[in-house]
């Protein structure tokens, strides 16, 4: 049965909305496959605006991996802005994919990638616009399987009611495995309907189907246990790990949008995973072990990607890019290759201790020498021990001194506020650090106009980290602490004017905390917020703290728990956490010990260059560290067309 494009109906609405180009598709390197020639069809969503969702690497990779397969089709869909949403409701136009403008409801799988919990309300908008029942229990064989992935899926419990299933970890192989299960089930004539399909998926042990697990609560509101309620369904669901990144050189053909998006560059993931062991960092905990892409593999991806896109900048992505064992040769190799093409290189997430000036010079060779960004995260030495971000102030000062000496004039520093055991004094140290940076810069350059910007975000404790038991700092306390820091910086006559101060207030962090460490009872809040008009919670102009709190009061009525219980409460060792049955490989006892070490300000090293400290991931997931150096070099390209 061919599915009709909704474009003719959508097109009539487009002259009335902002930036209509984001809804028309047709991006370079996008794919439209024949509907009838495919037997498994995926609609992939990044539940945020197109400008944020399009450059998302996860969606782009899966889109390509799926479309490369014979008989499999994948199309993309993004959140529509409220102006178009209103028109779509008025004119009865359903949620559509941007590739062939097919209705999302017609697909076999509706897969959503959640980088952040703040996309949950957008998922409900999309489901409703698609004509798919919001709650999984109300869906029929006519509806797609609604599947969540991405980092937030490591605790899918708050959205358990809305999901048919969730997959944690790397998606490349997982989507293909799921595809085969769906294909076989369809070929057999869909025996047992969607329940049977979900059962088959759940029995693999790699797909979490919330409805096959019952959550029992204790009288005090904590979870008693989580029990499988269907035969053959495992007690715990494992994360997926892709080994050998060189075998997965995706995206090969990155999408190039016509509309302007947040990242306009050719991104190459140079390694996956991080074992630095920063205790606040969920990404670093759940993506272990470290798996490097080889220098030659990176060179090939960049070359092919630039040819396919025409981008002017290459981003070398990872959780801590300067930690690649051959980063120096990679940066130099790329800068050499693309000098004439004026291709810039960027390296997000650079650690102070891994930074060196040769690397920085290579990175800025074909572009500007604007600013350097580092993330000490904690203002005081003590705080950095607690979070295990082992960067000393001396390291930082030495690094910035070299940078200023080499022509840089601006340094940006990222910090967090509200970390476990933090006091006002720890946060006020942030200002001191900024002053020392400027002082050093003036000394080295002999100039007064040295700038240092400090940017501060509120800390939100995340599942599968040593801080999963930690109390979150209340919004009021966060705001008060940040105000003290602001006053101390502004009041400084010698340096105050040279320090830029950016911070976020504590309120969005509380909602994020609620959604991060929530359980199934939080689903009622999300639904209430959506029904009250909540959308785009990651956007300041749409986020409403008051709405979330009002809906929480209603949604949690009768449960005996409240927002504080989920956020500012410290958990104990015995407590069953909502995500305990989702296995990230991390040993819970190791996490607890690391939490205790944090409280005692004891640091732990990186297992890439010290012996294994038994976090549990490698034996549990049957994986291992894959790092260089390979000793290979990135050779100059043969010159053509010149």
């Amino acid at each position: 049965m061919t599915v009709e494009s909704v474009f003719p109906r959508l097109e009539a609405l487009l002259p009335h909305v902002q930036k209509p180009i984001q809804y028309v598709g047709g991006e370079l390197n996008s794919t439209v496959k024949d509907w009838d020639a495919c037997d498994v069809r995926w609609a992939l969503m990044y539940p945020d605006a197109y400008e944020v969702g399009l450059p998302n690497q996860g969606v782009m990779i899966l889109y390509e991996v799926l479309n490369e397969r014979e008989g499999v089709l994948a199309e993309r869909t993004y959140s529509v802005w409220p102006d178009l949403e209103a028109l779509m409701r008025e004119h009865d136009v359903p949620q559509f994919t941007v590739d062939a403008h097919r209705p999302v409801k017609a697909f076999d799988v509706f897969g959503l990638s959640f980088s952040t919990e703040l996309g949950y309300t957008n998922m409900l908008t999309a489901l409703d616009l698609a004509g798919i029942p919001l709650e999984a229990k109300d869906r029929t064989d006519e509806d797609p399987i609604v599947l969540a992935g991405g980092h937030a899926a490591f605790n899918p419990e708050p959205i358990a009611d809305f999901l048919d299933c969730a997959v944690i970890g790397d998606g490349e192989q997982a989507v293909l495995d799921i595809t085969e299960i769906i294909r076989a089930w369809k070929a057999e004539g869909r025996p047992g309907g969607r329940d049977e399909l979900l059962l088959r998926l759940a029995r693999t042990g790699g797909v979490y189907v919330p409805r096959f697990y019952d959550v029992e609560y204790l009288a005090d509101g904590r979870i008693g246990r989580v029990v499988p309620n269907a035969p053959g369904v495992p007690w715990r669901v494992s994360k997926h790990t892709v080994m050998d990144l060189d075998e997965w050189p995706y995206p090969k053909q990155p999408l190039v949008p016509l509309a302007e998006t947040v990242h306009e560059r050719m991104s190459v993931e140079i390694f996956r995973g991080c074992t630095r062991g920063c205790r606040f960092c969920q990404a670093g905990m759940i993506t272990r072990p470290v798996r490097e892409r080889s220098i030659t593999g990176i060179g090939e991806m960049v070359e092919r990607g630039l040819k396919a896109t025409g981008f002017e900048e290459v981003g070398l992505l990872s959780l801590s890019s300067a930690d690649h064992t051959e980063i120096g040769d990679i940066a130099k190799g790329l800068a050499d290759r693309y000098t004439e093409d004026k291709i810039g290189l960027s390296l997000p997430s650079t650690r102070v201790d891994a930074f060196n000036i040769d690397l920085a010079n290579e990175l800025s060779r074909n572009g500007r020498r604007s600013g350097l960004t580092f993330a000490p995260e904690g203002g005081s030495e003590r705080m950095r021990k607690v979070i295990n971000k082992m960067v000393s102030e001396e390291d930082l000062i030495r690094t910035v001194a070299t940078a200023y000496g080499n022509g840089w004039r601006q340094v940006k520093l990222y910090f967090m506020c509200g970390l476990p055991t933090e006091t006002d004094e720890d946060v006020l140290q942030i200002g001191e650090m900024a002053k020392n940076v400027i002082q050093k810069g003036r000394e080295v350059t002999g100039q007064n106009d040295i700038r240092c910007t400090v940017s501060i975000g509120g800390f939100v404790p995340k599942p599968h980290t040593p801080f999963q038991w930690a109390p979150q700092l209340s919004a009021e306390a966060t705001d008060a602490r940040l105000a003290k820091l602001r006053d101390s910086i502004r009041g400084d006559r010698k340096y105050g004017k040279n320090i830029g101060y950016r911070y976020h207030d504590g309120k969005p962090g509380i909602v994020e905390g609620l959604l991060s460490r929530g359980d199934r009872r939080v689903g009622a809040i999300i639904r209430a917020v959506y029904e009250d008009g909540g959308r785009f919670d990651g956007w300041r102009e749409y986020f409403s703290y008051d709405r979330w709190m009002a809906c929480a009061e209603k949604g949690l009525a009768g449960t005996g728990v409240d927002v504080d219980w989920y956020t500012t409460r410290e958990r104990s060792y015995e407590e069953v956490l909502p995500w305990d049955h989702l296995d990230s490989g991390l040993d819970k006892d190791w996490l607890w010990e690391d939490w205790q070490d944090a409280l005692e300000e004891v640091e732990v090293d990186d297992c890439r260059w010290t012996p294994c400290f038994d976090c549990g991931v490698c034996p549990q997931m049957d994986t291992h560290i894959q790092i260089g150096p390979t000793g290979k070099k990135m050779l100059p390209l043969t010159v053509v067309n010149k």
């Binding site: 003719p8 002259p15 209509p20 180009i21 025409g310």
Partner: protein
């Protein structure tokens, strides 16, 4: 430095491309197809591209123009084909000449537009056109960044007529393949020639004028396509090819 003038289109769904979007897409296409661009001097060198008179977002066009500067000599036709290949379907490069004459922008005196009014009876449209043309001045309002602006939409109109549907197939090629589903419904088509003046009078403004003079109110947004821009032949009210001079100035052989 060799300079090339190119004519390109914005067709079908890609008419929703804004001019800024097009600029980025075009500069990436230059990189993908390894065109030997000349770069501006300065701290952040930019490829030498100048754009003339872009059609508004949402308006299709068969006649947009730009000029590029090359660091090495290229055959215009080959370059055209190469760039066309590199751009998404709908943003098509359809003509190229080597620059041999100055003052190109001044040559773009007027534009010819095709305005498709779905749900409007051709008779009704013809009547409205007659009323509009009978006026000497038709004041219309347009919302701008600086508030509402009032100006005359009649003076700049060199020609306006209601034409038979399906004028030489142009509408069909212009709207792409997923649109032949329209059946049966009334549809009026206007051909409009407007002089490029200050303030610029857009097809939208003429539609406002038709509403003001004859209460013409299309039930769905008009679909507008720029068919041509170039020198205006006042007598016949037609717009001619702005690249003709460069072509004629070609060295013999």
């Amino acid at each position: 430095m060799q300079r090339i003038r190119l004519r390109y289109t914005k067709r079908g769904r890609l008419r929703f491309t804004s001019h800024r979007d097009f600029q980025r897409a075009f500069e990436r296409a230059l990189r993908r197809s390894a065109v030997p661009m000349a770069y501006s001097a300065g701290f952040t060198p930019h490829p030498k591209v100048s754009y003339a008179n872009a059609a508004p977002t949402g308006v299709a066009s068969e006649a947009e123009y730009l000029e590029i500067g090359l660091a090495a000599v290229r055959d215009p036709e080959q370059l055209r084909a190469q760039l066309d290949e590199s751009l998404p379907a709908g943003l098509d490069v359809i003509d190229a000449v080597e620059v041999r004459t100055p003052n190109f922008v001044e040559r773009l005196e007027a534009s010819e537009w095709l305005v498709r009014l779905d749900g409007v009876e051709p008779v009704e449209a013809a009547l409205a056109v007659a009323r509009f043309l009978a006026e000497e001045k038709v004041e219309v309002e347009r919302r701008t960044k600086n508030g509402v602006r009032v100006f005359d939409a009649r003076g700049a109109v060199a020609a306006l007529e209601a034409v038979e549907s399906q004028v030489d197939g142009v509408t069909d090629t212009a709207v792409g393949t997923d649109r032949d589903v329209r059946t049966g419904r009334a549809c009026a088509i206007l051909r409009l020639v407007v002089r490029h003046a200050t303030p610029a009078v857009r097809p939208d403004d003429v539609l406002s004028g038709l509403r003001a003079t004859a209460d013409l109110a299309p039930p769905v947004p008009a679909e507008v396509t720029r068919l041509a821009q170039g020198p205006l032949d006042e007598e016949s009210g037609t717009v001619t090819d702005p690249l003709a001079l460069d072509r004629a100035a070609a060295p013999a052989g």
